[in-house]
Structure formats: structure tokens, C-alpha cells
């Protein structure tokens, strides 16, 4: 499916996709995991690859594999910094110091924790991210 790179379009696309997965008999847990991962990947494209000043489209395809899904997400936005999915420190919250708790930096950790075969390619001005989400 193709969607516009806005927060609202991402929400609507995730709804459509999860409805389709549900209609195809996919387990609710796998649908939840897919929604968590795809929300992070798609939001990242909206916020960083295109950013606030640029319109664009995102192409998303989801293919069923044994016990999971294989996703391919493409966009024409800016490349990932350093040519790869960001490797940042995992944000940590100190229970005794709530005013220092992290408000961001969680996204790629959620993606890495919940996917396998995560692969980023850049070519012909396009970002191409593929990954699999499977149930244990």
C-alpha cells in the first residue's frame, strides 16, 4: 500500500493493515507486534526522512511468512545518518529521578527488539528497509 508521509496517514494505514491481517486470521499478538514496529518505522520516515517541510509518499508491503510477516518499507526521503539504522544507547530511566526520565529514543530499540533480518539499503534516491516480525 502507498500512504502519504503524515502522522494521520500513518495512523490510518496501520488501521487498514491491522484490519487486513485480522481478516487473514493472523494472531492478535503478531498484529500488535506489527503495529508497534511499523508505527516506529513509519513515524521515523515522516519525522526524519521527509521532515516537517517536505511532502512525500511511503510504500509499504507486508507478506505472510511462516509464523510471521515480512515487511518492506520504501520512501524517497533523506538517507539514514551514517547509512544505517541508528545505533543509539538504550534510554534508561532512574526511578528516583522522574524529572530526568527519557521522553524519546525508544523507537529503534523497539524495532530491533521485535524484528529479525533488519536490512537497510539506499539506492536511486530511495530508502529501502526490510525486516521480519515473527512469533516465538
Amino acid at each position: 500500500m502507498r500512504l502519504g508521509a503524515t502522522d494521520r496517514s500513518v495512523r490510518a494505514a496501520l488501521d487498514r493493515l491491522c484490519d487486513r491481517l485480522d481478516g487473514a486470521g493472523v494472531e492478535p499478538e503478531l498484529i500488535d507486534l506489527s503495529r508497534i514496529v511499523l508505527a516506529e518505522v513509519l513515524n521515523n520516515i515522516v519525522e526524519h526522512a521527509y521532515g516537517p517541510d517536505r511532502d512525500g509518499a511511503i510504500d509499504l508491503s507486508v507478506q505472510m511468512i511462516p509464523k510471521g510477516v515480512r515487511c518492506c518499507v520504501m520512501d524517497d526521503g533523506a538517507p539514514m545518518p551514517d547509512g544505517d539504522v541508528p545505533h543509539t544507547e538504550r534510554p534508561v530511566a532512574d526511578a528516583g529521578a522522574p524529572m530526568t526520565w527519557p521522553e524519546g529514543g525508544f523507537g529503534w530499540h523497539l524495532v530491533r527488539d521485535l524484528t529479525s533480518q533488519l536490512c537497510y539499503r539506499r539506492g536511486a534516491g530511495r530508502n529501502d528497509l526490510t525486516f521480519e516480525i515473527t512469533l516465538p
Partner: protein, 117 residues
């Protein structure tokens, strides 16, 4: 963003009446929360029982809501659905928020006993 506040047994309870707290409503969530809790005192319980999905922007907004209350005023959570629970667990934020199964359990464990000052 639909949110609702009431006082239950001395506890301020904010219920989110939307099914999602995501990037498209994170700022609205913070602003609405700020308005609902202003002029009130004490612990706030955020009832998430209607919320089916929280992304990392939504989680950031919940953390920001906690900070709006200041260092000494807790924000507790209740009613986490499976996808919300999963995000809280994967980010380890379930180790710093107090999380209750539902509103009744939160009230039973946090509200001041009747007659206390």
C-alpha cells in the same frame, strides 16, 4: 483528543477516551492532560483501559505528563492493554511507573483511608 477527569476517593483519575496515544495526538495529549490536572493536588492515576495502542511518541507524551506534575507528585497508570503493556515492558518504563491492573485496584492501594487528613 478525548480525555476525562474525575476525583475518586481523593485520587485524581484521568481517563483517555481515545483508542490510541500516537505521534498524531502526542502534543494534544500533553496539552489536554495539563488542562485537566491544573488546580488539582496529589497523585494522578492515568486510566489507559480504552487505549489499544501506544507508540514511542505516545510513551514520550506520558513521560512528559509525569514531568508536568513536578518531582513529588506521582503519575500512576492502570488498565494497560496487551500492546501498551508490551511497549512499557520493552522500554523498561514499566519499572519506573507504578502500574495497576485497573482503577479499583489503584484506588484500593493508593487512596487515603476515609477520615484521614
Amino acid at each position: 483528543m478525548e480525555m476525562h477527569v474525575d476525583d475518586q476517593d481523593g485520587l485524581t483519575v484521568v481517563r483517555v477516551d481515545d483508542t490510541r496515544i500516537d505521534a498524531s495526538v502526542a502534543i494534544q495529549f500533553k496539552d489536554t492532560f495539563r488542562g485537566l490536572v491544573s488546580g488539582r493536588q496529589g497523585t494522578v492515576l492515568l486510566d489507559l483501559s480504552m487505549v489499544e495502542f501506544l507508540d514511542s511518541s505516545g510513551l514520550g507524551a506520558v513521560v512528559a505528563a509525569r514531568k508536568l506534575l513536578g518531582p513529588n507528585r506521582p503519575l500512576d497508570l492502570c488498565g494497560l492493554q496487551p500492546a501498551v503493556d508490551k511497549v512499557m515492558a520493552l522500554t523498561r518504563m514499566n519499572t519506573v511507573f507504578k502500574i495497576y491492573k485497573d482503577r479499583a485496584q489503584a484506588i484500593a492501594q493508593t487512596a487515603p483511608a476515609p477520615g484521614t487528613i
